[in-house]
Symmetry: none
Subunit: 412 residues, 2 copies
Amino acid sequence: MNAMSKQQLLSMLVEPAETKLLLIVLDGLGGLPVEELGWRTELEAARTPNLDELARRSALGLAYPVGHGITPGSSPGHMALFGYDPIECEIGRGVLEAIGIGLELTENDVAIRANFATAELRNGSWIVIDRRAGRIPTDECKRLCELLQSSVERIDDVEVIVRPVKEHRFVVVFRGEGLGDSVNDTDPQVVGAPALTPKGEDEPSERTARLAAQFIERAAELLRNEARANFVLLRGFSKVPKLPSMNELFKLTPCAIAVYPMYRGLAKLVGMKLIEVGGESISDEIEALRTHYGEFDYFFLHIKPTDSRGEDGDAHGKVKVIEEFDEHLPRVLELNPDVLVITGDHSTPSVWRAHSWHPVPFLLHSRWVIPDSDASGFNERACAKGMLGHFPMIETMSLMLAHGGRLQKFRA
Amino acid sequence: MNAMSKQQLLSMLVEPAETKLLLIVLDGLGGLPVEELGWRTELEAARTPNLDELARRSALGLAYPVGHGITPGSSPGHMALFGYDPIECEIGRGVLEAIGIGLELTENDVAIRANFATAELRNGSWIVIDRRAGRIPTDECKRLCELLQSSVERIDDVEVIVRPVKEHRFVVVFRGEGLGDSVNDTDPQVVGAPALTPKGEDEPSERTARLAAQFIERAAELLRNEARANFVLLRGFSKVPKLPSMNELFKLTPCAIAVYPMYRGLAKLVGMKLIEVGGESISDEIEALRTHYGEFDYFFLHIKPTDSRGEDGDAHGKVKVIEEFDEHLPRVLELNPDVLVITGDHSTPSVWRAHSWHPVPFLLHSRWVIPDSDASGFNERACAKGMLGHFPMIETMSLMLAHGGRLQKFRA
């Protein structure tokens, strides 16, 4: 039992129940004091009567997505919230990029992040001049991806999928049996250096590397008349990780209500059913929750714009998103879920204009908590003093299962 | 990636930046309520307007050097503060004793703690009568060490270094190639028992053991006319641990401002540059910090007397040291470091008169914290309620690096 992970412990103790668990993730929720908000955080400045009232009937805390000082990308925070170790459970960059544009990957796929680049052929080597081809516009990226896709549909017996992302970035997927993903990046990371040759660390990966080399050659041929984007660099070769599903691990029947492809993709990786949402607003998402509330027992509802406004450095915008969520909160509370968690996957303070390492405000509502009755509301400072203390975000699943009456006693 | 330590994670994410990080360690800072201070702790009783004001612009917390209930010696707390696992990163007793008296050790050295003892030769065995030779005065220790040193400069091709410490305690160093340190203590720990024979667990250590046996024999010969200190006991055979430097691990250019040899030695073990200090006072140390502020990006400033007064049981004395530091604090703040941490390496409550297990008050000042604006000041009770929560002291480095903008995002 020495090295039993928290996940194994939960799997051992979990039992089904009739309870409903609802996780609402306001992406990038946590913030820092903002001068224009009177040195209050976005959560402190937002007018949120419903959240504040709920906070005083809930237990509050601060959750660390990965650890002190560690700024998580989009996947580690969500993995932790879903009950998966955010460090051990690695999702490759190629896979993330692919699910980020809504590509449905199979277990036979190797997904690759690709850049259009400017390069020069000297003595048989492609010397990289601009790793991003001058950040060509997204429209140009689309045109070039269509060109590549229409000319390179297969290499040998392997299907090739080429899809644009944004500016110089695109995705390549090799779909075929027996392909490995232990292949080095071809991007030399510096200009003036030759693009690297893809090499595989094992036989299946060597097969992928050979496909990649052919793809690069074909692309260079097809792009030869482009002024800027005349070459491609490949990075982050990866296959979909084989994760046990939330149903296997936690005996849940989970669903995801999310608008952005990245989060739908992450939810799918852990076996959530994806719910169609009628529009892109918070209200649309809550409507979808209400519509499908009878069909599942675990609901992941993802709200993106808190993070987007934080990354924009738009403090007032972030405040407005929080207030918009607060307005619609009563429609969630009407469902009366047995366990309701409202938190973020990481902090995105608008003064930092990026994801940050700060722990995330966390609210747990259930019949079975000691409420933080004297909390000033739902905000970072109140959460720092809350009944739940400061804890690793991966504990979210154990807390939700426990408060949902879904965990047996540990030993006698 | 399975068992990635926090240190490995940081090394993976760290990137250089222009920011300055300053760690001020008030040794043994934390305390307990003292009756003569009106049941306040030394930090609560001290008049510290500058620290208190700073606390309300900083994030506070409590740091556990090793773990709940564990009282650290001098090295584990500092190792944790420097970002090294205080349990895994073991520094031998011989090495600690040697660096504590300012001996500069090389990688070829085996350092040994030695005691002068009283012993009696019976049937060819040295029976220990007094393990500390009646705690001979330090001057006598010096005289005897000079005697040993002048007579035993080498054994075979190995240099022998003998240096006094205090009372019956001294240090022996064997300097030569191919010496191991897996050698048992010769001190039987009880009187009336024979001194043990040094034995090595492997071939290099067996070589050291043979040197040690010869050293003991020569010492007994040289000391035969001493009334009390007629024998020596050897303990804590150890080599300098091979630690990766802070520069390798964290891409920092670190320096140490410390007066006591022990702390200078610990700093040197992790690759800090040692700064000369013009005197021994807190003011002298801060002057040295100001003089060298342009040359480094990480500064470890060590203040010893808080611990000394705690060990003396001198509550008022400890209060005075804290107040003295507070007076000079503005000269530190004028430097405007990007990240400033003020904490201890462990607690030394004056009522306990020794190191204790209590978590240590921790203050983190940076542009990127949510300040504990309503803190009563910088003290244990305020820290227990602070925004940083209660956390392992080894997180200090991650917090400092993160707030200094020196950690990349963890995955996408």
